[in-house]
């Protein structure tokens, strides 16, 4: 440890260079962690949400909603609509076990302020058969009654019997007052748990979209019947997009893959800059400690030992900056999520261990690589020249 104090002694909060270099790592890691969290969160939430809602079967959606639907954000963003009259009779197709026309919108409440909630208008059958059961209360019997997802209930601190007011925009003066009658058990899916479920007609009326839906989930329990059902649907609804669950997953997967790559690219640039900052700092340290390097060499320290000293200095930056960067990344992602929810976009976040481990591991790897060039320079100095350095 005595050996490493030669370089570590200068790494204190009073040294501006140390602070700025550590800050570079903090920003790099924070960017990486927040972007990974957003990417992972979007991927996980979209996939789980679609899988939970769709089970095996098809989704019918307006052709105009391709892009947003493909992203899996169709359920929370404006898109085309399907007149209810067009979808009558689907439940009579052989093999179809459940048809759930859904109108999804973004809503707000006075309790949750800027944080958006998903408002899902669905027939009672969709709620009963498509989601896990209730943990409290009952399903609705009237049109001004709501069932809350598990997370939504916690956010609103609501229990059966309470009244809540749903707003179209944050801080609207008037909204839709409904009575909570039941609370769903958790599905483990962000969007489903953070949703307010209402009778389909109530949502259509409140959002001025009477007689239309924006998604139709068609469940097929028998896998062998799926192809026949698809053929009937394609023939009957040539103007609608009909996507199989698998196809949705593939589309979502490929689009999210591109998104991941973009996010990772941005994060990598941040880390590259952080790495260059470490290289610069360690190089300056080497230049300042030429004489000390000479002393160590005169004492008999080998090139490998001197190399390690300066690599440890580089790693010290990430040992300090890495954890702070992870914490800052979590906060930054939450800030972005909060800012987006004000504009009506619910952005789910997921801070899995992989985000934290990846952030720390990458910062250590970048520090290691970044400190090698200056460390090699230190190790290869000629001892006599180093000792005569003023």
């Amino acid at each position: 440890m005595t050996l490493y104090r030669i370089v570590l002694a200068d790494l204190n909060p009073r040294n501006l260079r140390t602070v700025l270099t550590a800050l570079g790592i903090v920003i790099g890691v924070a960017s990486l962690v927040s972007l990974l969290a957003i990417g992972y969160g979007m991927r996980a939430a979209v996939r789980e949400n679609l899988e939970g809602l769709v089970n095996m079967g098809f989704i019918l959606m307006p052709s105009g909603g391709t892009s947003s639907g493909g992203l899996g954000l169709g359920s929370v963003s404006p898109m085309g609509v399907i007149p209810e009259g067009e979808i009558e009779g689907i439940d009579e197709i052989y093999g179809v076990s459940l048809v759930t026309p859904v109108l999804t919108q973004v809503g707000f409440t006075r309790q949750t302020g800027d944080s958006a909630l998903l408002v899902i208008g669905t027939p009672l059958s969709g709620l009963e058969k498509g989601l896990p059961g209730l943990i409290e209360g009952s399903y609705w019997t009237g049109d001004r009654e709501a069932v809350l997802g598990a997370t939504a209930a916690k956010m609103l601190s609501a229990k059966p019997g309470d009244r809540i007011e749903i707003l179209k925009r944050p801080y609207d003066k008037e909204g839709l007052s409904v009575r909570v009658v039941g609370i769903l058990s958790s599905t483990g899916t962000f969007l489903q748990d953070q949703a307010i479920y209402l009778p389909l007609e109530t949502v259509q009326e409140f959002y001025g979209q009477e007689g239309v839906v924006n998604l139709v989930f068609v469940r097929v329990d028998d896998p062998e019947a799926a192809e026949a059902v698809r053929e009937v649907l394609v023939k009957r609804y040539p103007d609608l997009m009909i996507v199989e669950t698998d196809q949705v997953m593939q589309n979502v997967g490929s689009i999210l893959g591109i998104l991941d790559a973009v996010l990772l690219g941005i994060g990598s640039i941040s880390m590259l800059i952080a790495g260059l900052s470490i290289t610069n700092s360690v190089m300056m340290s080497v230049n300042e400690k030429v004489r000390e390097i000479g002393i160590l060499k005169a004492l008999g320290y080998t090139r490998g030992e001197i190399l390690r000293i300066f690599i440890v200095e580089g790693l010290a930056y990430s040992a300090v900056g890495g954890p702070i960067g992870v914490a800052a990344g979590v906060l930054a992602a939450k800030f972005v999520s909060s800012a987006l929810s004000v504009r009506g976009y619910a952005l789910p976040l997921e801070f899995g261990p992989q985000s934290v481990v990846a952030g720390l591991a990458i910062s250590l790897a970048v520090s290691l690589i970044a400190s090698i060039p200056p460390a090699r320079r230190a190790a290869s100095m000629r001892v006599v020249e180093a000792l005569s350095h003023e």
Binding site: D10, G300, T302, V384
Partner: protein
């Protein structure tokens, strides 16, 4: 213990060469104390650097305990320095970030791969600095810093201590203390001591004086003894290399440029390069 055979050292400066050592040959016995006396620029520090394995000769051989340093790799030279030699500098060369104790432990770590705090404290006690163990170099006087440097040297239990102007920056009283300490260590531990100095009084405290001028040893024995023991007549090993010897040097030079420099720059009484003699 130490044997130099026909050692040359030249530095390239732009397109010219500066010849610092010219065919130096020298033998130092184990346990001997030798002063290398010469004016500034005479090549004495370069000579010491080469013996300590801090620098390499342009031509010639340097044997320490029978090992020719010329053939050692950089890491082998580092291991040689850590196990055989301790170097004491005029400018102390302590690590400013570390305390006196930690500087000594740094030397321990280099030599033994581990540190022993109690042993380091004992070493500091030997040099009379046990009360300053936790002081950093800037909190110590010049003499105290040099004593820390001596403690660092002792911490490595070396067979050879090389001191480059160890008293050059000290007042006369402190100079006596440091010299006494070095000679005491030499007598007690049987360490070989090589001291570079331009101070005749310091040189006279050693068993033998080697005088160096313009990169050549002009006197390799004699001198007065300051500390008992029989004086020993030593052969004058240094000599001016003739043209035939230079031709031989060129043929065998491991570093061609320096050998060529010698052939073209030899001028009596001058280290500067220029027209051939």
């Amino acid at each position: 213990m130490v044997r130099l055979v026909d050692v040359y050292k030249a530095y390239r400066i732009g397109s010219r060469y500066l010849v610092v050592l010219r065919g130096v040959s020298l033998e130092v016995e184990r346990g001997e104390s030798v002063a290398i006396l010469g004016k500034s620029g005479s090549g004495k520090t370069t000579l010491l650097n080469i013996i300590a394995g801090l620098d390499r000769p342009s031509y010639g051989h340097v044997y320490v305990d029978g090992v020719d340093l010329v053939y050692l790799s950089e890491d082998e030279l580092a291991r040689f320095r850590r196990s055989r030699v301790s170097f004491i500098f005029q400018s102390y060369n302590l690590i400013s970030e570390l305390t006196a104790l930690e500087n000594v432990m740094l030397a321990q770590k280099a030599r033994f791969g581990r540190t022993d705090r109690e042993e380091a404290l004992r070493t500091l006690r030997l040099v009379g600095l046990e009360g300053h163990a936790n002081h950093r170099p800037h909190e110590l006087s010049g003499g105290q810093q040099q004593r820390v440097a001596i403690a660092m040297a002792l911490a490595k239990s070396p067979k050879l201590i090389i001191a480059d102007e160890p008293t050059g920056a000290l007042d006369s009283k402190t100079r006596e203390q440091v010299l006494g300490l070095l000679l005491d260590v030499k007598d007690r531990l049987g360490t070989t001591l090589l001291v570079v100095t331009h101070d005749v009084d310091v040189a006279r405290r050693m068993e033998r004086i080697v005088r160096i001028r313009d990169g050549e040893i002009v006197e390799a024995g004699g001198g007065s003894r300051g500390r008992g023991g029989a004086s020993r007549a030593l052969p004058l090993l240094s000599r001016r290399a003739g043209r035939a010897e230079l031709a031989s040097a060129v043929a065998h030079a491991t570093r061609t440029f320096s050998a060529l420099a010698l052939a073209t720059s030899r001028q009596p009484g001058s280290g500067a390069c220029g027209s051939p003699r």
